[in-house]
Amino acid sequence: MNFFEPFADKPAIIIDIGQAYTKCGFAGESAPHAIIPTQVTLNSQRFYLHNYKLLPHGIETLKEMFIEFLYNVYYKILNANSRERKVVIVESIMTSSDFRKTLADVLFNDFHAVSVLLIPTHLACTYTLGISRALVVDMGYNDCQIMPISDGYSLTNLCSFAKLGAKHLHDYLKILIEKYALVTVDGNRVLFSSLSNQPTLTEKILEDIKLRCCFVTSFERAQKIYKQMEIKQTDSFTDLEFQFAPECDYTIESMIVHIPGYVREMACEIFFKNEIDSDQCLQNLIIDTICKTPIDLKKEFASNVVLAGGGCMLDGFKPRLAKEINALIETKSNVFPCQKLSYHKTPSHENYTAWLGGAIFGSLDILDNYSIQNTQHKESESLPDWFSIQIRNNLVQT
């Protein structure tokens, strides 16, 4: 493998299989070749790859789904022969063992990949910046994962994750729309909930509404709104005297739905304020994670925060998060070492930061030393887990 590299001129294939979208492309590029939904069509039905547990015969169906999905990625999108290419898979450390084992089996046995490397998402994000210590916040579809990275190791004992992903935002948005939205019927505006045949708000429609109509409101406005809600002791937004953003018209199945301003502004509030458990919001989680870290690393993590994942691309998300964290630090100033956190700007759009990290690593000569070769996999037949001793010796140190 050292001298005779017949595949030296063929760049490795980098795939980041996310919960909602998959980013795939070649090593050495600055952006993925394509971003496709992580869904597969089996028997004329569309399934999410990660929902394999809901189907009967889960694991076997997962294998078939992988074969179909990877065939699509290799031959329809990337136009690459699977037998000649090395593969880098960027995956979250929290991926279930069944999932990664099936993925590795499919890649080695059905697609005969030359070698496979599995990189953790958060570690990959640090490669795009050239830093060795960082606190990576990955806002994904299913959840939000906050992981400190130090010298090539993901400090999993200090990580935290919360069910604050796009999925939960969509669910909350659905509740708000069903409660507050108005529809124009025969010139009259009626409540959405009063319609006899309500159009189904599918995941795709909710995602589109979130993208086009919703945004994260500013810190000052949010404070005013909550103050008023407290004074008036109300949970509903309609009674407030606050000047919300103007409403937005959205067409669903030839019906025009008017989405009121307060739905647009307050839908994303689940990230910053939790009614039930006030600690389960982003700013608290980030601060708590930094507080849990060892004393010598606290300052480094606080000055190297990386925001990655599609959730960070919401309009107004980043300034709001920064201000919320600053406000929280002021209340905890005796415990917290610094005044404010410093954030990195990655040379990529946030939704493919991890992919870019994988692409940078995949273009290095050292890829072979860290990957699992095809022959190795045949002998061992098992994939070392992220928490096992074997992996610890293998990670790159910048």
């Binding site: 050239g130 589109d208 040379p347």
Partner: protein, 513 residues
């Protein structure tokens, strides 16, 4: 009757134990016995020639990788992903005033300018503000990712330390080999093994040296750690303390949702991911290439397209449709549990010769397969004799007529025309086997014995030379397992009983005297 021709109803068992409709299967004639292969158990190979589907410009793999698989002259609409056409319009521009010419020249010269337009959604480059171009080959250039520079800096820095790390690892692997002897210098010429090239390791060692000499060897001083070397190569990433706030317009001005892009439009251009429709840019079309398939057992080609890009024919076209008779459902009765219901299936022969078939009842036997298809009904064939199906004869119009042999089957064969017959079967849904009564489908498995005459697989050269002599035919019998899913047990919501079509009744009247 779209539901009857629905290919997902009748599936055949492939050699890898998967169930696929007949149109999705290939066959390999070199494997003994003749095996069926599907997309998932066949080896795919991308052809080396890449071409743009619109302008048919062809490139080899290396050239295509250099242009990132994007055709420079063909574009897709960023709004609806269809082809963009170039339109020309004439614009009068003032003639260039030469420096020497003092007097103001006001003569106008008509010039052709080009812009792109999508025929489906009427999007044009003018809507986005892209100025019309004067020469098409230079046209609409691929915009460069603004982060390219930083990413290249990072990658180069990483490559240096990766090379250094690799060198250190390789050194660790060969501790016995004296470091001194790797460097072929004049002073150690007499003593170094490599210099005398006694054991033939000079060339590989020199190659290894050359590969790492340029980058990793610059600083091998063990005092400087990898971290420090990296920091010296690249300026560190900058951090910011606060982010730009949302502009006030978000809170006061109503937004038009049509001015914001959808998620698919953003993903179509991963480098830029424009959030507003007035930032959309034409997307370059991607190069594609043809695929050829190989049997995983014997490595012979199963499907090979012609190398000519425009041609849609195949050099080798071993599709199962041309070998195995195709079964389709003609009628669906109103299902009665635990009673035999009459169902008519049609069998079509697309092989180049006659086929003798016979049906096989499998009883309670379950056939293992990867789709977990379990039969919950019993299918019975009244007649187990072999029935012959003619090959397709396009020379004359054939009437629907039963043969004398068919009459002996006592109504089992109820229709025959050219290469197609229809047979009557009895399907009994068994109530004990229904797992979920609400969504149960009537499923059954049976076998089909096909006996065909295959020409002895002779190479084309031999065939040409001995064109006059007879080809030896071998009779081979293949048994296929066929899995039929008739549909839901309870026919509701628009699903209807499909009655016996008139052409079958007409055929029964037309008995050969």
């Amino acid at each position: 009757m779209a539901t009857l021709i629905d290919s997902n109803k009748v599936k055949y068992l492939c050699s890898c134990n998967r169930l696929k409709p007949l149109s999705y299967l290939y066959y390999c004639k070199y494997c003994k016995p003749l095996t069926l292969k599907c997309k998932d158990c066949v080896i795919h190979e991308i052809d080396q020639k890449f071409f743009c589907t619109n302008c048919l410009d062809n490139k080899v793999q290396k050239e295509v990788m250099a242009v990132k698989y994007k055709c420079s002259s063909c574009f897709n609409c960023p709004n609806c992903n269809n082809l963009l056409l170039t339109r020309a319009s004439s614009v009068k521009i003032p003639k260039d005033t030469a420096a020497t010419n003092q007097s103001a020249q006001t003569t106008q010269q008509p010039q052709k300018v080009y812009y792109l337009i999508c025929v489906f959604c009427r999007w044009t480059t003018r809507e986005v503000g892209i100025p019309d171009v004067t020469s098409v080959p230079d046209g609409w250039k691929l915009l460069e990712n603004p982060f390219n520079k930083r990413i290249h800096e990072l990658t180069d820095a990483y490559k240096v330390i990766a090379a250094r790390e690799k060198l250190e690892r390789d050194r660790k692997k060969f501790p016995a080999l004296k470091r001194r002897s790797l460097y072929i210098s004049g002073s150690s010429a007499t003593s170094s093994i490599l210099h005398s090239d006694k054991y033939g390791i000079l060339a590989p060692a020199q190659k290894r040296l050359a590969a790492t000499a340029s980058i990793g060897n610059q600083n091998l001083d063990p005092q400087i750690t990898i971290e420090q070397q990296f920091k010296s190569l690249i300026k560190p990433a900058e951090t910011i303390d606060s982010f730009e706030e949302l502009p006030e317009e978000f809170f006061t001005k109503g937004s038009n949702i049509n001015s914001i892009t959808s998620i698919a439009q953003r993903h179509a251009n991963p480098d830029f991911q424009p959030s507003k429709t007035n930032e959309l840019y034409p997307l370059n079309k991607f190069y594609q290439s043809k695929e050829s398939k190989r049997c995983s057992g014997c490595e012979h080609n199963v499907l090979k397209p012609e190398s000519n890009i425009i041609s849609i024919k195949f050099k080798l076209h071993q599709m199962a449709v041309f070998l195995v008779p195709e079964i389709r459902i003609i009628t669906i009765p109103e299902w009665k549990m635990d009673q035999p219901n009459e169902v008519i299936l049609s069998v079509t022969n697309r092989y180049e010769g006659d086929v003798n078939i016979s049906f096989l009842c499998l009883g309670d036997e379950q056939v293992p397969n990867l789709s977990n298809f379990e039969s919950n009904s019993k299918i019975e064939f009244e007649c187990e004799d072999t029935i012959v199906i003619d090959r397709q004869d396009n020379s004359k119009a054939v009437m629907a007529q039963l043969k004398p042999t068919d009459e002996r089957t006592k109504g089992f064969v109820c229709f025959r025309r050219d290469n197609k017959i229809a047979v009557k079967c009895l399907v009994t849904p068994i109530s004990k086997k229904q797992t979920d009564k609400e969504l149960a489908h009537v499923r059954c498995i049976f076998g089909l014995n096909c006996s065909i005459n295959i020409a002895e697989s002779s190479s084309p050269q031999i065939q040409n030379s001995s064109s006059g002599s007879k080809e030896t035919f071998i009779n081979s019998v293949i048994t296929h397992r066929i899995f039929v899913d008739f549909g839901p047990l309870k026919l509701e919501d628009g699903l209807k009983v499909v009655p016996r079509p008139r052409y079958i009744d007409d055929c029964l009247k037309n008995l050969v005297k």
